[in-house]
């Protein structure tokens, strides 16, 4: 018998806990389609009213950078400390800007 989860699609679940906040990744689940994924997500992740809005996205539709590539992906920023406010030393009386 094949495992049923092998036939079902994997979905990633994002929940907005409160109006005004971003949707945040909370986990994943298997479902037949988007509609079912949304219902499962409600049952799995918002049983205690943790959210006001849920997004479900097929995991296979997510394109992500690889942790292993992090060095060459981000190192162009590492030598630019001047992008940070703290880089600039100002006289005390005006240092609150």
């Amino acid at each position: 018998m094949t495992n049923i989860t092998e036939k079902l699609e994997l979905f990633e679940v994002f929940v907005r806990s409160k109006r005004g906040l971003d949707h945040k990744h909370v986990g994943s689940l298997h479902a037949e389609d988007h509609e079912q994924a949304l219902e499962y997500a409600r049952d799995c992740y918002t049983r205690r009213s943790e959210g006001v809005s849920i997004w479900v996205v097929k995991s296979s539709d997510i394109c992500s950078s690889q942790e292993d590539d992090a060095d060459c992906f981000y190192d162009p920023s590492d030598d630019k400390p001047y992008r940070h406010a703290t880089y600039y030393v100002l006289p005390d009386p005006v240092n609150n800007m």
Binding site: R16, R19, G20, K80, Y82, R83, A85, Y88, L90, V94
Partner: protein, 312 residues
Amino acid sequence: MTPEENFMRKIENEEKIEPKDWMPDEYRKNLIRQISQHAHSEVIGMQPEGNWITRAPSLRRKAVLLSKVQDEAGHGLYLYSACETLGISRSEMIEQLQSGKAKYSSIFNYPTLTWADVGAIGWLVDGAAIVNQVSLQRTSYGPYSRGMIRICKEESFHQRQGYEAILALAKGSEGQKAMAQDALNRFYWPALMMFGPHDSESAHSAKSMTWKIKRETNDDLRQKFVDQTVKQIEVLGLEHPDKNIKWNEERGHYDSSDLNWDEFWSVINGNGHCNRQRIEHHVAAHDEGEWVRDAITAYNEKKRAKSAQNAA
């Protein structure tokens, strides 16, 4: 409860409105006007400073300025994206900018004549923008509010690098100090105008306040900026451009001169030094980028055709 009542209940309870919520048409229109104008300002704002990138006085200043201008492009993108959640497309917004139907902040119609102007822009123009944007972090529309939070986080370096640059001039030779003073004299007043007309003259203010799109009035925000700038001018050792600036113990604020509103309306209506140049440049840059957009579309079509062929 009617949709309208439900909407107002959210607003009154300080809840954010999110893209798929019901909202009055006028609320949507008001937001599109304000957010797109804000986005256009970020994008057009790259021009006066971009003017000095190749002539920055040192490699360090050049790298800093490049980074700042790059941030402005990013801020334009955040805001265009927030605006698109309201159902207007990017190309419609660009068209409205280029045809003059949509406005951008008038401050960017002033020319940057000297290197000191770049410092004055970071310090005063970004400083004024921050006062406004800090307030807008509490705007009632979710995507706009989140965009403002992200922008404010990135913006602090803009003001500090500007102040640092003008401080170097103010503490420099007589000539450099004079250049700093001249930049302050020219940019101080237009920076105050960035907050818009007096509340009594502002066409959209009342409704925007009721709907909490705006959280503080033009005049209150302007006062905040006037107050915080006095000390900053003093530390530079420069002369305050407003001869009537005076601490008012009773109000707990500085009193100041009224602005030249004729100039304000004249620049808004297209008669500033650089209005035509700014839009011409935007149109040219947009047209010159056409082949890049075409290439992306062509490449995507080619890839699609290829994968369809492989699947068959």
